[in-house]
């Protein structure tokens, strides 16, 4: 049995659904944020796995060596940057929310309810 793109994709589907289920089911803000990180990591895995089996493109004039594509790696790099920014801002919001409500339950966040 040889490991192929499909195996990584299937694993990534399972990890994403675990993260999404956790985001829907848990009421703790911290665990919701961790579930978002799980989903982002699953997406990163699909990017890197797809890039691994992406074929090289010939160079423009056809004489130089073919260009090795790293598009998935570049995307993953930016997803990691955005995830780090999101974690920093999200945890700051958790702290501000706790300061207001003395709890980290998501259904206590009803300050904007009309």
């Amino acid at each position: 049995m040889i490991i192929h793109l499909g195996h990584y994709m299937a694993l990534s589907c399972v990890l994403f659904s675990i993260g999404a289920a956790g985001f829907l089911f848990r009421r703790n803000v911290l665990i919701s944020l961790m579930s978002i990180e799980l989903m982002m990591n699953a997406v990163n895995l699909t990017f890197i796995a797809a890039n691994r089996w992406q074929s090289a493109v010939p160079s423009a004039d056809g004489t130089a060596a073919p260009v090795i594509p790293h598009d998935g790696h570049i995307f993953t790099f930016f997803v990691i940057a955005v995830a780090a920014a999101e974690a920093a801002v999200g945890l700051a919001i958790v702290l501000a929310f706790y300061r207001l409500r003395k709890t980290v339950r998501t259904d206590a966040a009803d300050m904007l309810r009309g």
């Binding site: 694993l11 829907l24 990180e37 990591n41 990163n44």
Partner: protein, 185 residues
């Protein structure tokens, strides 16, 4: 079967099993510090999977950013909140949430069964694929503008996180959240 593919199979099986188990631990555990440890193990196992895909640069980035920064940030916040970080649960509204979560898992397993047979012709791994040099050439070539935008985003995130998390000494009552002097900011 060549030895290389056995190695690959063992590495993939080990890291995939650890990734799924630690993702479940991240979602299920009651004590938030255990969730954070689950997330820690999860990002480590994903770094292992990245190595098996010969993404060396991103393995390093994953270890530095996730293990070194994001998980530590989560642990800092859990420590700061103390026992309050474990939100009490109640049964109200549990059924619709369980239905939603179950539907997500069912959809994920269905999708996994669809994509698991993807079987492209394997391209030979060209020398230099995924190394810091080759990714850096793309990052500072075609992806130059997004790379600079990322630095703007991170600066904005730092300033935003500071502005949101900063405590307003004496301005906000800790019990009600109302401004202590009666004025609204």
């Amino acid at each position: 079967m060549p030895p290389a593919s056995i190695q690959q199979l063992v590495a993939f099986g080990f890291f995939a099993a650890v990734a799924v188990a630690s993702a479940l631990a991240t979602v299920i555990m009651r004590n938030p510090i255990r969730n954070a440890v689950g997330l820690f193990v999860h990002v480590l196992s994903l770094a292992g999977l990245y190595i098996s895909l010969s993404a060396h640069f991103l393995t390093a980035v994953q270890l530095i950013v996730y293990v070194g920064a994001v998980v530590v940030l989560f642990v800092f916040v859990i420590m700061l909140l103390g026992p309050a970080s474990e939100a009490p649960t109640d049964a109200a509204g549990r059924l619709p949430r369980a239905i939603g979560a179950g539907a997500m898992v069912a959809a994920g397993l269905f999708l996994a069964s669809v994509v698991k047979d993807l079987h492209p012709d394997r391209v030979a791994n060209p020398p230099g694929f995924g190394t810091i040099e080759s990714v850096g050439r793309q990052l500072f070539g075609p992806a130059m503008i997004p790379f600079e935008m990322a630095s703007v985003l991170l600066t904005a995130a730092i300033v935003g996180a500071f502005a949101v998390a900063r405590s307003h000494h004496g301005k906000v009552s800790m019990s009600t959240g109302e401004p202590a002097d009666g004025s609204h900011r």
